[in-house]
Amino acid sequence: MSDPLVELDNVVKRFGEFTAVQPMNLEIHKGEFLALMGSSGCGKTTTLRMLAGLEKPSEGEVRLAGRVMNDVSASDRDTPMVWQTLALFPFLNVRENVEFGLKMRGMAASERRAKALDWLDRLGIGEFAERDVALLSGGQRQRVALARALVTEPEILLLDEPLSALDAHLVIRMQGVLTKLQRELGITFVYVTHSQSEAFAMADRVVIMSNGVVEQVGAPRDIYRAPANRFVAEFVGRNNILTGKIKSSSQKEIKVETSAGNFTVPKGKGTTATTGDQLSFVIAADLVSLTGSKPKTENAVACEVISEEFVGSVVTLYLEAPDGTEFKAQVQQRDLDKVNAEAGKTLWVNWATKHAHVLPEARA
C-alpha cells in the first residue's frame, strides 16, 4: 500500500481526569474505507474529532499527509465531516448548504453554484436544490450532508454515525450509496459506528475500540474469524467462547477440558501449551453444525434447544449444555429441516477442530 494518509502517533486524549483515548497508533491509507467501531464511550468519536481538529490531542501527534496537524485549527483543515445529527444549516436551502464550504474558501458565486448543483445531481437530489432542508426526507437530507462535505473534493471524508438516524431499510440503501461513492472517488473514508453490520458491510478495515484502547485492527473477515482477544470475540457476538484447562498437547493440537466437555483445538505455530494452563477458544456460530444423534467428530456436545431466532433464511439457535454453557448455532433454514429443533429437544452441537480459534492469553 501507498504511504499512509493519516497517522496517529501515540495519541492520547484526556478530558480532565477522564482519559478518552489511551495511547493510540494507527495508520490510515489513501483510498481506504476504515471503520472505527465500539460501544458508546469507547473513544471512537473523540478519535474522529481529533482528525477533524475539533479536539486537540493531549499527547502524541496527528499527521495528515506527513504534516503534523496538532496545532492546525479545524477551519484550516480539509477534513470534512458528515455528522450524526447531520448538522445541516436550517436557515439555508439545499444548494446554499452545499455551497457553504466553497463560499468559505472564497469561490465566486457562479462557480460554487455550478459545483453545488453538480454534486447534488451526482447524489440524485438535483431537483431539490432550492428546497428548504426541513422539507426533505431523512435519506435526502443524508445526501445533502454528503454533498456538502464532498463538494470541496477532499482527500478524506470523516463520517460520524451518519446512518444512525435512518430507518432500517434506508440504512442498507445508504450503505450501498456510500461504498459506491467511496470506490468511485477513491478517497479515504473514516467511518465511526457502533453498528457491526454497517462496519463489516462497508469497511476495508475495522478498528475495534473499547475504553479508549484499540482492541483489534483488521479486515472484517479476520476480526470475525480470528478475534484478537476475548473482548473482541464477545463484542462481535455470534461466537461461542469456551474456557478450560489444557490437558495435553501434541505438535498440532491441544486437548482442552472445559465444564461442557473435552475438546480439541488447533495449535498455532510458535505457541506454547503448558498442561494445566487456562485456555480460551472461539467457534463462530455459523461454523457449528447440529445433528440429531451423536456425531463421529471429536468436538460434540449434547445440548437442549432453548429458543430460536429467524432472520430471513438464517436461523440462530440458542442451546444449553448440561453444565449450563450456552451455545449459539447459526444455520440455514433448510439444514434445520433435517433435525427436530423444537425447544426442549436435544441436539448435538459439533464442529471441526480447525474451526476453533484459540484466543491469545488475556492481558493482565
Binding site: 477533524a52 481538529g53 475539533l54 485549527s73 479545524a74 477551519s75 484550516d76 480539509d78 477534513t79 470534512p80 465531516m81 455528522w83 450524526q84 445529527t85 448538522a87 444549516f89 436550517p90 436557515f91 457553504f100 464550504g101 468559505m104 474558501r105 426541513a134 422539507l135 426533505l136 426526507s137 431523512g138 437530507r141 456538502r148 462535505a149 470541496t152
Partner: protein, 267 residues
C-alpha cells in the same frame, strides 16, 4: 363525587373571569378614551376624538414621545446586544464562576423598581451623568438585558450543538461562523428580544421618573397627569401606549412561535 362536566364548566368560567379581570382595565381605558364625559363612567356619553386631539396638540406629549422612542430604540439595541453576548457565552462555554456570572446577568428584574430608581439617581449624579436621555438608556438597559438574554438563550437551546462545529469543519473560522451560522440561527430570538425590550423600556415609569430630569418619557408624563387628577387624556395616551406595547409583545411572541412551527415540520 362532583360531576366531571360541572367541574370543567366551572373551571372554564373561572379562567374566563380571570381574563376579564386582566383585560378589563385595558379595554375600559380604550373605551373611555372615546367617551365625551369628563368623568369616565357608565352610561357612556357620546363618541369623541376630543381627548386624542388634546393629546395631539400638546407639545409636551410630542417631546415625551420623542424621548421615549429614542430611549426605547437605544435600550432595545443595547440590551439585545448584551443579552445576546451573555446568552451565547452561557450556551457555548463553561467557565469558573459561571453561576455568579449568570446571577449577575439575571438579577436586575428581582430588584424593586423604586430601589433601582433611587440607586441609579444617586449613582448618576455622583458620576455626573444625571438628567440626560442617556441616563435613562443606561438604566433601562440594565433592566432589559436579562429579558433579552432569556429569550435568546431559549432560541440557542434549539440549535444543534454540532452546527458551529460543522461550519468550522467546512472552513469557517469562529468569527465567520458567528456571522454565517449563529446570528442567522438566533435571528428570531434577536427580533423577539428587540421588540420585548423596547416594550419594557417604553412602559417603564419609575426609574425614568427618577433619572430623566427634564427629559420626560411618555409614562412619566402619564404619571404626572395621574398625580394631578382624573383626566381622560390619560386614556387616550394610555390607549396609544397599550397598542404600542401590545404590538411589540405580540410580534415578539409570534416571531418565535412561527419559527418553532416551521422547524417542527415533519421530515
Amino acid at each position: 363525587m362532583m360531576n366531571e362536566r360541572a367541574i370543567r364548566l366551572f373551571l372554564r368560567l373561572y379562567v374566563g373571569c380571570i381574563f376579564v379581570f386582566v383585560f378589563a382595565p385595558i379595554i375600559a381605558s380604550m373605551i373611555f378614551s372615546f367617551n365625551s364625559d369628563r368623568f369616565p363612567t357608565i352610561p357612556l356619553g357620546s363618541f369623541t376624538w376630543h381627548w386624542y386631539e388634546t393629546v395631539y396638540n400638546d407639545p409636551d406629549v410630542w417631546d415625551a414621545l420623542r424621548t421615549s422612542v429614542i430611549v426605547g430604540v437605544s435600550t432595545a439595541i443595547l440590551s439585545t446586544f448584551i443579552g445576546f453576548c451573555t446568552a451565547y457565552s452561557d450556551f457555548r462555554y463553561n467557565f469558573r464562576f459561571k453561576g455568579a456570572y449568570l446571577a449577575l446577568a439575571l438579577l436586575p428584574p428581582t430588584i424593586p423598581l423604586v430601589i433601582m430608581a433611587l440607586a441609579m439617581l444617586a449613582w448618576f449624579s455622583r458620576i455626573g451623568v444625571s438628567g440626560q436621555v442617556w441616563s435613562i438608556v443606561m438604566a433601562h438597559t440594565v433592566m432589559c438585558s436579562p429579558f433579552a438574554m432569556a429569550i435568546i438563550r431559549l432560541r440557542l437551546q434549539q440549535m444543534d450543538s454540532n452546527l458551529e462545529a460543522a461550519a468550522w469543519n467546512l472552513g469557517a473560522n469562529q468569527w465567520r461562523t458567528m456571522r454565517e451560522i449563529v446570528l442567522p440561527f438566533a435571528k428570531p430570538g434577536i427580533i423577539s428580544a428587540l421588540c420585548l425590550t423596547a416594550a419594557v423600556s417604553f412602559d417603564e415609569f419609575a426609574v425614568a421618573w427618577f433619572v430623566s430630569g427634564l427629559n420626560k418619557t411618555i409614562p412619566v408624563v402619564v404619571l404626572e397627569i395621574v398625580t394631578g387628577n382624573i383626566d381622560p387624556q390619560v386614556n387616550a395616551i394610555g390607549t396609544f401606549v397599550f397598542i404600542t406595547s401590545m404590538t411589540l409583545v405580540i410580534i415578539a411572541q409570534i416571531v418565535i412561535m412561527t419559527q418553532e412551527k416551521k422547524e417542527k415540520q415533519p421530515a
